[in-house]
């Protein structure tokens, strides 16, 4: 991809780019695919869905005990109530990080990920190194993300082998008692909801 920016001549397209163009032109020409649908799909996952959705769920769970209980017992319904539902989030489970237990999510077989609350997965989540190693050496992988866990913390790795999609409820950072849900959302990162990092601490808020 890089190195081609200076020249958009078709003769310089990579084999992969050409294959995608060929498929798109064949499928639209034959009337199997609506070009407007392609644009709407891209627009949805590039601009409308993302980890801000999950952050709203987490911040609400941090501030409303009843909502948190609902989220931990019937995540699909509790998240749908926030208006996040649908493809790749049809069946949700939320696992809670505490001082004693740290959860982290993977899909060793492919790249299953809760789209409605996190958007599309980052490249590293789909990559061979993460998928292969996090189940056998979760503490080592977490250290590479700068996440140090004490030896007495239980680590739970969730391998997404069914259509159940897992979201980590990160621990609420210390010193945030005076923050409201909108302020707390800013501390909830994508990585903290996958479980490879903790939520941001209050003093790192931008």
């Amino acid at each position: 991809m890089s190195g081609h920016d200076h020249d958009h001549d078709h003769s310089h397209l990579s084999d992969t780019e050409l294959r995608v163009r060929t498929l798109e032109s064949l499928l639209t020409e034959k009337g199997y695919v609506d070009p407007d649908a392609l644009n709407a799909l891209i627009d949805t996952y590039e601009f409308k869905v993302g980890p801000r959705n999950g952050a709203k769920v987490v911040a609400r769970a941090w501030t409303e005990p009843d909502y948190k209980n609902w989220l931990l017992t019937d995540a699909t319904a509790a998240i749908a109530e926030m208006d996040f539902e649908g493809r790749q989030g049809e069946h949700m489970a939320v696992v809670e990080n505490t001082a004693e237990i740290h959860n982290v999510v993977v899909c060793t077989l492919c790249s299953c990920y809760p789209w409605p609350v996190l958007g599309l997965p980052p490249v590293w989540y789909k990559s061979s190194p993460y998928r292969s190693r996090v189940v056998i050496d979760p503490r080592g992988v977490l250290e590479e993300f700068g996440t140090e866990l004490s030896d007495d913390v239980e680590v739970r790795v969730w391998d997404s082998t069914s259509e159940m999609r897992y979201l980590v409820l990160p621990e609420r950072p210390a010193g945030t008692d005076n923050l409201n849900a909108a302020e707390l959302q800013e501390l909830v990162t994508r990585d903290s909801m996958i479980g490879v990092r903790k939520a941001l601490s209050a003093n790192t808020e931008a």
């Binding site: 995608v20 489970a93 739970r156």
Partner: protein, 222 residues
Amino acid sequence: MVDGVHDMGGMDGLGPLEVEENEPWFHAEWERRAFALTLAAGASGKWNLDKSRYERELMPGPDYLTTSYYEHWLYGLEQLLLEYGFVNEGELASGKTDPKQPKVVDARYLEGANVEKVLRKGGSVLREADLTPAFSEGEMVRVINRHPLSHTRAPRYTRGRQGMLDRVPGILVFPDSNAMGDGEQPHYCYSVRFSAAELWGQDADEKNFVYVDLWENYLENL
């Protein structure tokens, strides 16, 4: 194909973990198009998600390990489109439509105006069935050591291993049959908790556990 390189949990030596800060949603225009084409063509209803995962698993191992994730998707999509007659090899090679290629009948057409509604609806795999779960929460079970030559969602690292049944997500469509055109065959799926020592040997950290969703057909009593 079940023991293909996609089933990589527990392997080592697959390269360094590279984390890109402030990563964009897509890294190139072709990734956007390959992603959207996969979803739009999938909306034809001619194949299911399990089948499309299976097609990506059929990518030759050396290629799978040296290409990016959207290249896996592109490979899988081409194979599906060929198999179901949306395109033929000549069309893929030339980029020109072949008038002799028969039209696929009854393919659903996802209109741009319906994208939001269709995504929001999703595709539940939860099914109602008059079944009694064979196992109950807290029970110890073992994953049957089976190596089918077809699609499965029982990772290799769990086979022959025993774990504790943690919770019961419900009666779900069975990917192994659904991917192979043998119907949904829904039955109970369980979340099973494995100790790291059971999976990775006696030197593993005793505070580490792996939870895997496994269908009843994968499991046996101790």
